[in-house]
Symmetry: C2
Subunit: 423 residues, 2 copies
């Protein structure tokens, strides 16, 4: 590669709000999205919430001349909703489905049925290896009382770990998607601190679009206005994040968002705003590459966010275990009830009533059994993420303690008790 090597990447990201039968004007919006993507000819278009595979196939046909490579990431019962269109050949792709993703009995929320995942594409561009990730985390339905918080933190950690372990030989890492996390939310900080990814909105000097870079804005006619009431400008939950590994330098030249309308001021393409970033990758001597996790200040921040995430997962685990125990008691009660009913049925008298109650009791027992199993699995999943966090926390602390510059920094001694469970 030449020393004056430079690569320009134009990226598009949109949560398409493509729920069959439920999302308004879906067909029209998908058509207009296709027209827009064809016209703009991005290097990479990463889409979320394309729930219908027919929509993907329609876009694929339409975009074939401009984006010869495409992939739809299938998972769960419904699908991950993730897909990608690329102007350049895709060398490899794979995906990781998040271990925890809400509750199957929360049917009206539906996330569990989607099998939310992170998709990975490996592209070779002018001799440079680009790992592009696209994801969609569990939705936030109630910010004040968020029953999915632990799951979202666990997802953010799994996402960070997946990127960390699969991008070790990549020159450039790109993550786009709907994280369902505000910029200062724990999951977002955890992801950024652990992976060293930079936020295009915060990094670019040339931003045009919605106020404060929000990706769900009250101006958008498809947005539920009541949900956005506490946020006058809207919320920023969709991201373009990137980093370059040693030897390269990446910057965001421009970032554009739609602002409640489509790019030509018509009806919006979705209830989310689209992100359009122009990234520039350049050669840089290794010593010039920023390395965000190496300094003592960055390590302190990492330790602090790892601790916070650990505590959140611990809370989640306690709750999962409470539900499993509760379901265990219900199973016990159900068994007692069944035994009683069998005795009554055998004894005559209220025989008919006993027989009639037998099947609901079996139903109760099976339901409680399913709840028990589900929450046991949830506890195991949270415990797994907590163990990984704890291990990295221990290692970050060791590195921090060894660092002569950091002796004075941060309170480190607290909450040491948690070291005992995992080495």
């Amino acid at each position: 590669m030449k020393p004056n090597f430079s690569l320009r990447l134009r990226i598009f990201n949109l949560n398409c709000w493509g729920i069959p039968y439920l999302s308004k004007h879906r067909g029209d919006r998908v058509k207009r999205l296709g027209d827009f993507l064809n016209m703009e000819s991005f290097d990479l278009a990463l889409l979320e919430e394309v729930w219908s595979e027919q929509d993907f196939q329609y876009l694929r046909q339409k975009l074939l001349p401009t984006y010869p490579a495409a992939h739809y990431f299938r998972s769960g019962v419904i699908g991950s909703g993730l897909c990608v269109f690329s102007k350049h050949p895709i060398q490899e792709f794979t995906q990781h489905v998040y271990t925890l993703n809400g509750y199957p009995y929360m049917i009206h929320h539906g996330d569990w049925f989607c099998g939310k995942a992170v998709g990975l594409l490996v592209l070779h561009l002018s001799g440079l290896v680009l790992n592009a990730y696209v994801t969609h985390l569990h939705a936030e339905y109630n910010r004040q009382k968020d029953i999915y918080l632990a799951h979202r933190v666990a997802q953010a950690w799994e996402l960070a770990q997946f990127i960390h372990h699969t991008s070790k030989k990549a020159d450039v890492v790109l993550l786009c998607g709907d994280l369902n996390l505000h910029p200062k939310d724990l999951g977002c900080r955890l992801l950024k601190e652990w992976t060293g990814l930079h936020d295009a909105y915060l990094e670019t000097r040339d931003f045009k679009g919605s106020e404060e870079g929000c990706t769900m804005v009250p101006e958008n006619c498809y947005v539920n206005q009541r949900e956005l009431e506490p946020f006058p400008f809207g919320i920023r939950i969709d991201y373009v994040l990137y980093k370059a590994v040693s030897g390269f330098y990446i910057s965001c030249k421009t970032l554009r968002t739609t602002a409640g309308h489509d790019p030509h001021s018509g009806t919006p393409l979705s209830d989310h705003e689209a992100l359009m970033a122009t990234l520039c990758v350049r050669h840089s001597p290794p010593q010039h590459t920023p390395s965000p996790t190496h300094g003592p200040a960055e390590r302190s921040q990492l330790i602090s966010v790892l601790k916070e995430a650990w505590a959140e997962l611990d809370l989640g685990m306690a709750q999962a275990r409470w539900w499993a125990t509760f379901a265990g008691y219900v199973i016990g009660l159900g068994l007692l009830l069944l035994a009683l009913l069998c005795a009554l049925a055998a004894g005559g008298g209220v025989r008919e009533v006993a027989i009639m109650l037998w099947t609901p009791s079996v139903g109760l027992l099976l339901g409680a059994g399913a709840v028990y199993l589900f929450h046991m699995q949830e506890a195991k999943g949270l415990s797994r993420a907590r163990a990984e966090l704890q291990h990295m926390l221990g290692r970050a602390r060791e590195a921090h303690d060894l660092d002569p510059e950091s002796q004075a920094a941060l309170f480190l001694g607290q909450q040491e008790g948690d070291r005992s469970e995992e080495q």
Copy 2:
């Protein structure tokens, strides 16, 4: 690193058969295993089927002086059963739970509840990066009529992909575990072809142990003799596989297995035989590193095995869809029955019977709904693996076609139709 760098690694692998209440002499076997591991002081001991976390904690305490680092991989309802003890510090660990792992209604087989997974450990040894993987794939209960074949092939592919994507910067890759695959089974060939891993048993010049390296042998008193009837020497389903990446050369100096007894000729440590390998890693000029997937002959083999796996997953998908359709019909019938019962209950006459049948009908409906959802998810999971396989098949074929040496080799034109679905 010095040019004459050399590293010796002593590895232990055992499927421990540690099912609480069911596995014979579990406590005694775990105790003896701990004694043996302490005495031998391996670099790395990788264990499967440690289903009880208490057994892991017991071993951890016992092995702490010799193996200061340990990790238990939690997943599913019961757990993955995987754990590891290391003489050297573990830098990082993570895991990937297989998307498909049997059926929840096959309770007597139990695999679904375990959340079978692959665990990854990253170790830094004398400046060398070692990625060690431990796994346990879905059991084979009936070799003649194996209903889990597609799942095991999908697991082998996910395992191969996980290793491929997470080991790109590793110097040495090690995979140990119970693959539940015979050496010539499709899954095993797929794994080896795609990752380039070498089989310690086939590579070593110094093997001592069971006949043909079998890891389930009729001499073992815990083995179900009837199941081994078609295999007079036993079966080889547990493996030590390895490879070195450019710049290094790895070889297996010695491989030992137990042979139906414990290493001191006492009662066996498990129903499987233990594998004990001594590996030697040396520096080698890049051109001397064997690269098994680069030649036209190897590429032909890869293409052939990818095609075979594709066909197997396709069969599995058809079956999953058949079950989903069947469950769909049952749902329809259940709904009709419910409507009929409601009408009968309202109309009098057979009112009591109608009310009594109402709950079983709802049960039938819910059961069929669950089966429908499960098989839809199964079809999605198989379809995902098939799409990845197909993409790599396309790329392998392109590389093969471009290769001037390979023009005459293999029949390539057949089954081209499958190219149409995925790019």
